[in-house]
């Protein structure tokens, strides 16, 4: 009697767990599903709330056509497509170079801070670390307006270079945070062995430390990539024509057009697609990057 009771209990427990998991997975995935499918819907399908492709409605290339990317328009000349591709490339260049810059600067600094003793006046290692990490607290809005004025003077306004530098600054603390944890897990003996073999400090860093900590670097790089790809605030303030990134383009569409649902959906899909793919493929790295520092 008691045994069966316990069995039922476990089954109920299982159902609750899976129910919760499935519910939340639905909450996470439905908006993405909705956006992707909406880019194939005509106005009628949207207003009548049709949801499932091929059953509720017949998908059309309408969203991609509005961007000039559908099968039948891909070889024709399209200004919208040129605009879109330009923004897409801008976003890609900006985020990749900013992440690279931040990872280089950040891992150098993190390595230095985890290995050597520094003295800069009254400041010691922990103070320098704190100085870097405290940048995270700084709200972007404090920097935005001075940068606007400064960049105007330096002719960096609306240039990709200007944005890259800002984004690198924005993600630098995160890189240092992740990499410092990474480096402190590497045994010192390895490096000492390298030094004995006649490598310089830089030789040890490049030949021994970097290869070992490669997964950490990838994790940091991806986090940076995500943050700078999605960045909207600085981009909206500091770019207008040339260096405008994809999020700014998406945002500018939301205001002006009433209900051009399919084209908005296609744009949003394009803005999230690279990251969704990265997320699915490199999920374990992202999780790893986020969880450093959580456990000490």
């Amino acid at each position: 009697m008691n045994e069966t009771f316990r069995g039922v209990n476990i089954i109920v427990y299982r159902i609750l767990i899976y129910g919760g998991l499935l519910f939340w997975a639905f909450l996470c995935l439905f908006p993405i599903f909705w956006t992707v499918t909406t880019s194939f819907k005509t106005a009628v399908n949207v207003t009548q709330g049709h949801l499932i492709p091929w059953i509720d409605f017949i998908p059309k290339w309408i969203g991609l056509r509005s961007l000039g990317l559908s099968p039948e328009t891909i070889f024709e000349i399209s200004t919208v497509r040129d605009e879109f591709l330009k923004r897409f490339v801008n976003s890609a260049i900006t985020s990749v170079s900013a992440s690279t810059l931040a990872v280089i600067l950040g891992s150098l600094a993190a390595y230095g801070l985890s290995r050597f003793e520094y003295k800069l006046g009254i400041f010691k290692n922990s103070d320098i670390s704190f100085f870097f990490l405290s940048q995270m607290i700084l709200p972007p809005v404090v920097l935005a307006l001075p940068f606007l004025v400064l960049y105007r003077e330096l002719a960096l306004l609306d240039t990709t270079t200007g944005l890259i530098m800002l984004y690198a600054l924005m993600v630098l603390p995160i890189v240092i945070w992740i990499m410092r944890d990474q480096f402190s897990t590497i045994p010192l003996e390895l490096e000492e062995a390298g030094l004995v073999d006649g490598l310089s400090i830089w030789g040890v860093f490049l030949r021994i430390v970097l290869p070992i900590s490669f997964p950490g670097i990838v994790a940091a790089f991806i986090l940076c990539l995500v943050l700078s790809w999605n960045e909207y605030f600085f981009a909206a303030l500091l770019t207008s024509a040339d260096a405008k990134t994809l999020p700014v383009m998406v945002a500018s569409q939301t205001g002006s057009q009433g209900i051009n649902w399919w084209s908005m959906a296609a744009l949003s899909t394009a803005a999230i697609a690279p990251l969704v793919i990265i997320g699915i493929i490199l999920e374990s790295y992202i999780v790893k990057g986020l969880s450093t520092g959580a456990v000490k």
Binding site: I17, L21, W24, A25, L27, C28, L29, P31, I32, W34, T35, V46, Q48, G49, L51, L108, A109, G112, L113, Y118, I128, Q135, I137, P139, P140, V141, V142, L143, A144, L145, P146, F147, L150, A168, L169, I176, I201, F205, V226, N230, Y232, F233, A236, L237, L246, P247, V250, T254, M264, S268, I272, L275, V276, G279, E283, I286, V287, L290, A294, V295
Partner: protein
């Protein structure tokens, strides 16, 4: 200019100090970069904030001392957005509870854990601008967004998510929570997985039920991780703006404004650099005081508990 100078400095250090210089070279680039990009603009922003400076006005800047500050003290909308920040920060508690629950679910013995983890992670990867369109402007659309339809079927006659003060604020919280719960969840999950198995086994043998077990063992052990997570979440929350700018632009009547989005509009609509900067500087000061206070408090509390 600054670039050339800092290269020269790096090279000079290398020459003078030899090996010790090589060590310094690890930190110096990042250090100089941060100084150039943070400290200098910060000082400059204090300078701007003391001026009456409108970029679209013809006459350019004019020193006005503390006029901006006085204007700020009387600015209802600014303090209103501050108050909103308090509400938004309180929402973190709910987010934390949900994230903890999800982390527990993911940590249970389940099949297809990989699938669930990826699915749960995805919202974090999406661009806030796209999210604000996807959910804010289409799913929650008044006439035929699926969320509105669902709400109608559940008995809410007029599911207008963004037109009255309280509901609009809650909607914004939900949107923001949707993107950031995965972040908290993953950090908490890492914490859960690092808990030592022996402690849990021992508790099981002692015959603790699930509920007791959670409150007596898991929760206290998770306290440090929880605090780290929450502090980082607070930092991110204080920067929240993109979604607000794109979904409601702060409306109705400033009910959903965050400080950042308010300053953003002050600049974009009025080009009022001087006043905007003053607001930002005051915000920074408040944040720094708040964070120092919070960290001190947490430190002391942690010492007492452990």
């Amino acid at each position: 200019m600054y670039l050339v100078w800092s290269f020269a400095l790096c090279y000079g250090v290398l020459l003078i100090k030899g090996e010790r210089g090589q060590r310094a070279l690890f930190v110096l680039p990042a250090f100089l970069f941060t100084i150039a990009m943070v400290i200098f603009p910060l000082i400059f922003s204090v300078y701007i904030s003391l001026h009456d400076w409108n970029l679209s006005a013809f006459e350019g800047q004019k020193f006005s001392g503390l006029d901006n500050f006085r204007a700020l003290l009387g600015d209802e909308y600014y303090w209103n957005s501050m108050l909103n920040m308090v509400y938004y920060l309180l929402a973190i508690l709910v987010e934390y509870a949900i994230a903890f629950g999800l982390a527990l679910l993911l940590n249970a013995q389940i099949v297809a854990r990989k699938f669930f983890r990826v699915a749960f992670l995805l919202p974090l990867m999406l661009s806030p601008v796209a999210v604000s369109w996807m959910i804010g402007k289409s799913l929650m659309e008044y006439r035929f967004g699926p969320a509105a339809t669902l709400a109608r079927q559940l008995g809410w006659e007029t599911p207008a998510f963004f037109s009255t003060t309280e509901i609009a604020r809650i909607s914004m919280m939900i949107l923001d929570a949707w993107t950031f719960i995965p972040f908290m969840m993953i950090m908490l999950l890492a914490g859960l997985q690092a808990l030592s198995k022996e402690v849990i086994e021992a508790a099981k043998i002692d015959g603790a039920t699930g509920w007791q077990h959670f409150w007596k063992i898991t929760f206290p052990l998770m306290l440090p991780v929880s605090i780290t997570t929450t502090v980082i979440r607070i930092i991110f929350k204080l920067k929240m703006a993109d979604i607000v700018i794109n979904v409601t632009s702060g409306g109705p009547g400033g009910a959903t404004d965050t400080v950042t989005s308010f300053i953003f509009r002050e600049y974009r609509d009025r080009s009022n650099v001087g006043y905007g900067t003053m607001m930002a500087v005051v915000y920074l000061i408040i944040i720094v005081i708040l964070m120092t206070f919070l960290l001190k408090l947490l430190n002391r509390w942690m010492q007492k508990v452990t």
